[in-house]
Assembly symmetry: C2
Homo-oligomer: 225 residues x 2
DNA sequence: GCTATATCTTACCGGGCGGTAAGATATAGG
DNA sequence: CCTATATCTTACCGCCCGGTAAGATATAGC
């Protein structure tokens, strides 16, 4: 069962005693659910699976959630909350549009290495009810608009080359979103490494900058962090 | 291949007559299956769904496939075949590493707008048997290695700035892979537009290449890059 | 027409899983 | 201790869906 030794203590300890804080237990359910959803997908994760990992039985889950889908939705909400947090501060910060994009990528990439963050982009929206789906979709649109506005800002202030902001945003967001598909906490790459190189590559590009064509009028490159 | 979304006669016509070419029918099953898998996911698509869209009944499908999973695997195979096609020619072509990466992105992005291509990256590998999964994984690794080698080539020939090829490849591949998550044939963006801007943005970056001091003044036309 | 064969349909089974009913059990408060 | 209450378990239902059995039907070749 214990996948990696380094991991935090198992969530089922929250259920060791009956009179333990119910809020803690609810969170424990959510965390193990998120784990399993990422391991096996929502569809292939049964309520029995979740219960088993928590050392309880399926019906006990219904003390904290009404339906399976509610667990899923709460995972989405937790994840979007994380994204929201990191994005609001960027929007308020100063800097060119390009710098904001870099900051966006750095920050967003970090969230994509956290389980709840990964859930937001990796889990299948089709498992949500139409109402919940609308909620999630609305939030995702918000993220996209945020990024797109940074790009437009950059085009206006001259830090970003003219382009279709919509496609550019899809490109950048896609690269970052995809992190949730391959990132593994136990893997060789740290979140920090990924985030910083993504921020650089996606803004500056792969291509080598030719020093002769550059005027050092521009004060250094935008650094992410 | 008609580009307009409206065209393309429905696949169920392949089953109009009993004595129609079985190969055509098999392909018709595959194509409608791919459609449905992309619309509803593999898990939520029942064999009855597929059969219904083909105006036949479920057991008829078993004349062409042994199990549901086989249909899925064949979708993967068709898709990887498409990718293979477009990648081999690039590898052989001349040019700098950076140019090859650009060609890779352009070509690969185009495949990601075709149903079978989308299946490869969008469908859940967890629905495959361990054996089939190994096959698909192997193929995906091959793609990744190809891209990574282009990047390394570019670093060597000086067309690409020094970086970790592994992370860079993840970044680029991710952006392109994600296309299959949002692209819609009936949507406003054409495959051509997407592919060409992706190729440019991902190699050259967002950042304005030539830092001309004019900030607001319209740069009178050019910047055609 | 008649027959052989591939093709397709109707009817059905069984397992997995979300969800529920009803009863057991632990704990706080008196 | 005793009781009230929240918490958890055992047992079970019903639906969905992949897969199968067995029989119907269309078509080619004679």
């Amino acid at each position: 069962m214990p996948k990696s030794a380094l991991a935090q203590q198992p969530h089922w300890k929250a259920f060791a005693s009956r009179r333990r804080d119910p809020t803690t237990k609810r969170e424990a359910v959510l965390k193990t659910a998120a784990e399993l959803f990422l391991e096996k997908s929502y569809g292939r994760t049964s309520l029995d699976d979740i219960a088993e990992r928590l050392n309880i039985t399926k019906p006990a889950l219904y003390h904290y959630f009404h339906k399976k889908e509610e667990i899923l939705l709460e995972c989405y909400r937790w994840g979007t909350g994380l994204i929201e947090e990191s994005l609001t501060e960027i929007a308020g910060s100063a800097g060119t549009g390009l710098e904001k994009v870099a900051a966006f990528v750095y920050s967003y990439a970090n969230v994509m290495t956290v389980n709840f963050g990964r859930c937001v982009m990796r889990l299948d929206e089709g498992d949500l009810s139409t109402q919940a789906l609308e909620e999630v979709r609305t939030y995702k649109r918000k993220i996209d608009r945020r990024l797109r506005s940074f790009i437009q800002e950059g085009i206006r202030d001259g830090s970003i080359a003219p382009c279709d902001p919509k496609i550019a945003a899809f490109s950048i967001a896609g690269a970052v979103n995809w992190i949730c598909m391959w990132y593994e906490p136990a893997g060789p790459l740290t979140a920090e490494e990924i985030a910083s190189q993504f921020a650089r590559t996606l803004t500056q590009g792969l291509a080598r900058r030719k020093p002769d064509s550059l005027r050092r009028a521009a004060p250094a490159g935008p650094s992410a962090d």
